[in-house]
């Protein structure tokens, strides 16, 4: 059998960086959520950390419901940061080489103490303003990409599937409009 050249070309256009790094990364993200769920029964989400951490410094009544979980949510977030740092110190730095990983062409790589770090080229105003919308929307919408996207969709929750369809559609339209307006990166 000879592979269909049209199909191969289409695959290359849809997935210019292949799929392995994405699939392996996704499996690990799911595994991290599963480890916590199996041990504790908690379907972890990342955005609740924003409100639960605000309960340390704000007396607003809305945040008080998160006081019982705020300490472990800090630990979960620290774990995410350190896990990503471990990735940077190993795979991204070339200490561990794998054909599954390609450095990519986005952003800028720089070195600190032998560790290869990465920084974005996306403009600060986009990050800041986008962040404000993310902070409002994930908390009103009952979840983010991990809560709705990973745990909710994994639970076959109709609420989460509708939530993901909503934010994915709006995000696609927003990104395309911003790009069409000539904003880059």
């Amino acid at each position: 059998m000879v592979a269909d050249p049209v199909a191969l070309q289409l695959t290359a256009e849809l997935f210019p960086n292949g799929i392995s790094r994405y699939a392996v990364g996704g499996l690990l993200v799911g595994l991290g959520a599963v480890v916590i769920y199996v041990g504790t029964g908690i379907p972890a989400g990342a955005s609740t950390f924003l409100e639960s951490t605000l309960s340390y410094v704000s007396g607003q009544s809305r945040f008080q419901q998160y006081v019982p979980s705020r300490d472990w949510r800090v630990v979960f977030t620290l774990g995410i940061i350190l896990g990503a740092l471990a990735f940077a110190a190993t795979v991204q730095s070339g200490v561990i080489t794998t054909s599954l990983y390609e450095p990519g062409t986005t952003g800028e790589l720089y070195e600190v103490g032998g560790v290869t770090l990465w920084s974005t080229d996306v403009q600060p105003w986009r990050l800041l303003l986008g962040g404000v919308f993310v902070g409002i929307g994930t908390r009103i919408g009952k979840g983010c990409t991990s809560g709705h996207g990973v745990c909710g969709v994994g639970s076959a929750s109709k609420t989460s599937i509708v939530g993901v369809a909503t934010f994915l559609t709006v995000a696609i339209v927003t990104a395309q409009v911003v790009s069409a307006l000539g904003v880059s990166p």
Binding site: L14, R21, Y22, A23, G25, G26, L27, L28, V29, G30, G32, V35, Y37, V38, T40, G41, I42, P43, S47, L54, S58, Q60, S61, V75, F76, I81, L82, G83, A84, L85, A86, F87, G104, T106, Y110, L117, V122, P124, L127, G130, G131, V132, F133, V134, G135, I136, T138, T145, S146, H148, G149, V150, V153, S155, S157, T159, V162, V170, A171, T174
Partner: protein, 153 residues
């Protein structure tokens, strides 16, 4: 300090977070550019991150309630993540979508982005805290107004 937690509770949360964060780094979802390339239909690989993770967690959500009654470290029952649907899911989801499409970053990926060395992501994290705070103030006020009938102080 906290109520009789199992001594392995926090270590397990940390290990779960480490794997989660390593995966976000490996998948490059911690890079806003990669998310924006996906949203602009230039690279559809990110679908494999989201659905790959959802499939893995889906297996656990389907299996665990049948294998055990309760989680070993908390005694909590295994339940699926089901939240009631109301229009907030649509309104909040749309607002989140604007932010995700503008910045290319979501909360978990933002924490991981900091870990891979992206100091600029502090702008996004600051914005997320500001946004979460603003909606918290607004909803706290509204809850108080609902609780206290007009005329009462």
């Amino acid at each position: 300090m906290s109520r009789d937690r199992h001594p392995l509770f926090m270590p397990l949360i940390l290990v779960g977070g480490l794997i989660f964060g390593f995966g976000l780094g490996f998948s490059q979802m911690a890079r806003p550019e990669v998310v924006l390339n996906f949203l602009q239909f230039e690279d559809f690989g990110l679908l494999f991150v989201m659905f790959g993770a959802a499939i893995v967690s889906g297996v656990a959500f389907a299996l665990m309630p049948r294998l055990r009654d309760s989680a070993p470290l908390t005694g909590d029952r295994y339940e699926r993540r089901l939240k009631p649907f109301d229009r907030n899911v649509l309104i909040g989801g749309a607002i989140f979508g604007v932010g995700w499409g503008l910045s290319g970053i979501c909360p978990g990926a933002a924490y991981a982005s900091l870990g891979v060395g992206n100091v600029s992501i502090l702008w996004a994290l600051a914005g997320m805290f500001v946004g979460a705070y603003l909606q918290g103030v607004w909803r706290s006020k509204r809850a108080a107004a609902d609780a206290a009938p007009a005329g009462a102080d």
